[in-house]
């Protein structure tokens, strides 16, 4: 049984199909990439999985249970965490408090706000490399660190599956490299990663498997090598 199973997933806005009959799966321990031209429906799929949107049809199964139609906070507590395309940190809160929120509320059991909770949170900060900035206000961080902060907050919820939505967008090549390292570290820790990305270098080198979407439909799936040689994919990207 796969960690995440999606069958026949569809979502329409007006007459437009943002997602059309999508089938895909993510296995435990994998790093799976989701690519496609702009408007292909990638973030829509993420939204349908995380509970931000309700599917019009299809099934979404996580750890064997159906999660379509559940509220985002319920899905988060079940073990799916995500970052956002446009960074949504809690601007006026400190880095520590941003991640603390995820730590306190992300699990299935209630956790009180104690010093021990703060210490655990600092561990997460150390993992992503933000420990020294723990008292800084989130809005005062540079973009790369804000993205890191979102990842830390997501990790603090102790997820089994992490959805990364263009976490490398807007980063310098050096920052991209560091980001790639972090994703690998996350997988080593036991968290499965499903990532939307446009930075091809990153996708190709860290993903075990890649899924390609176009106009809301899945048009290809396979290892990075297979995808690069897939004629349909090449046409879709060159044609844009």
């Amino acid at each position: 049984m796969n960690l995440l199973e999606i069958e026949g997933l569809s979502k329409y806005f007006g007459g437009l199909a943002a997602a059309a009959d999508v089938d895909l799966h993510v296995g435990k321990g994998e790093i799976v990439g989701l690519i496609g031209p702009n408007g292909a429906g990638k973030t829509t799929v993420f939204n349908l999985v995380s509970g931000a949107l309700v599917p019009d049809s299809g099934k979404v199964t996580f750890k064997g249970k159906s999660i379509a139609g559940l509220k985002p906070y319920e899905i988060a507590k079940m073990g799916i965490a995500r970052t956002f395309q446009s960074v949504k940190v809690f601007s006026k809160m400190s880095v520590l408090n941003n991640v603390l929120l995820g730590y306190l509320f992300g699990g299935s059991k209630q956790i009180a706000l104690t010093d021990s909770a703060r210490r655990e949170t600092e561990e997460v900060l150390a993992f992503v490399g933000l420990k020294e900035l723990k008292e800084t206000r989130a809005q005062d961080l540079i973009l790369a660190n804000q993205k890191r902060l979102e990842v830390a907050r997501a990790l603090a919820t102790r997820p089994d599956l992490l959805l990364l939505d263009e976490v490398m967008a807007g980063l310098t090549p050096t920052e991209v490299g560091l980001s790639m390292e972090l994703v690998r570290k996350i997988r080593e820790k036991g968290v499965t990663v499903f990532m939307i990305e446009h930075v091809m270098k990153a996708i190709m080198s860290i993903c075990d498997r890649i899924i390609v979407l176009h106009h809301g439909e899945k048009i290809a799936e396979g290892t990075p090598q297979e995808i690069v040689q897939n004629r349909t994919v090449v046409e879709v990207y060159l044609g844009e």
């Binding site: 988060a76 995820g102 306190l104 992300g106 706000l113």
Partner: protein, 322 residues
């Protein structure tokens, strides 16, 4: 670790204030103007502070305080002969909490403007309902009540004032308060981090209403006659909002200052210009919104930071989120 300085200072000021309040009746006769004036100020302070507990962090503008205040007034009036006073006041608060929780659960899922529109009408709605009830079921509109000793009302308000400050303080440092703050920053991110956003909003709205109900149930005893129009008066929605915005909603003391300033102003104006004082307050509200949208506190922040490079106003709460 933040410096202890400012918090120690606040605690000392609060302690001094409390000693003054509790000791005051020792120096002035119990029905004196001073006692009554301060009771009034405390009423507005609690109303403004409770309003800020919800509308500050979330940015949702509630215009319903008068509805919750009125519910408290009526709870007191109806049960006052039957049950002991402290219990009656508590029931007033609980009734207001329940009303707010229900309204909040239904309307806080929506855009802020719908919520504001609904709360604006809630006052009229409850007033209409009570009026209809009195006309058709009870038979008489309005009721007479036996007023209580002003000193009792005074001490009750001091206790409620302490309670609301304590609640505000607790919320600021608790898990719940963290969730509330995160909702104000980004509801979507908070929800995806495991926060049951709608419930937190509804509960906070309820807590804010609870204190307004307590206040109404207490202040009721300063009057000898109440009816729907006096109990559910839109002014009790307007004044707390004006006071909180004027004072600034970044810290608990902002609304306190705003409330103190405007209650005193109201006292002065109602005696000198009884026909013009709401006009004056309306104009002040307009001026405050245009020139001081972050309140006095925000203006002071701006002035203090005028020299720094960054210059932007760092005020935790933003009025007017939709």
């Amino acid at each position: 670790m933040k410096s202890i300085g400012p918090r120690y200072r606040s605690a000392v000021i609060l302690a001094a204030l409390l000693i003054l309040l509790v000791g005051l009746p020792g120096y002035v006769p119990s029905s004196s103007y001073a006692i009554i004036l301060i009771t009034n100020i405390l009423m507005y302070v609690v109303m403004a502070e409770s309003w800020t507990i919800f509308s500050g962090p979330t940015g949702y503008i509630s215009l319903a305080p008068a509805a919750f205040f009125g519910v408290g007034v009526y709870a007191s009036a109806i049960l006052g002969d039957v049950l002991p006073l402290p219990l009656v006041i508590l029931i007033g608060g609980i009734a207001a909490f329940i009303l707010a929780f229900l309204v909040g659960s239904a309307t806080l899922r929506l855009k802020g403007m719908y919520f504001t529109m609904f709360t604006f009408g809630l006052v009229e709605l409850v007033r209409n309902l009570v009026h209809w009830w009195e006309v058709n079921i009870t038979g008489t509109v309005g009721r007479l009540i036996a007023s209580e000793d002003p000193l009792t009302v005074f001490y009750s308000m001091v206790a409620i004032f302490l309670a609301v400050l304590f609640a505000s303080y607790l919320m600021g440092r608790s898990r719940f308060g963290l969730a509330l703050q995160s909702i104000g920053e980004s509801e979507e991110a908070a929800a995806h981090s495991g926060v049951n956003v709608n419930r937190v909003k509804a509960v906070t709205f309820g807590v804010s209403a609870f204190f307004m109900g307590l206040t109404g149930a207490t202040m009721c005893w300063r009057w000898s006659y109440i009816d729907p129009t006096t109990a559910f008066n839109i002014q009790y929605s307007f004044m707390p909002v004006l006071m909180a915005i004027f004072g600034g909603m970044g810290h608990p003391y902002g609304p306190v200052i705003g409330a103190a300033v405007f209650s005193l102003l109201e006292e002065v104006l109602t005696t000198k210009f009884p026909y013009y004082y709401m006009l004056t307050f309306g104009l002040i509200m307009i001026i405050v919104i245009i020139f001081l949208p972050h309140g006095l506190e925000g203006a002071i922040e701006r002035w203090r930071k005028a020299g720094s490079r960054r210059g932007a106003v760092e005020v935790p709460y933003d009025v007017g989120k939709t």
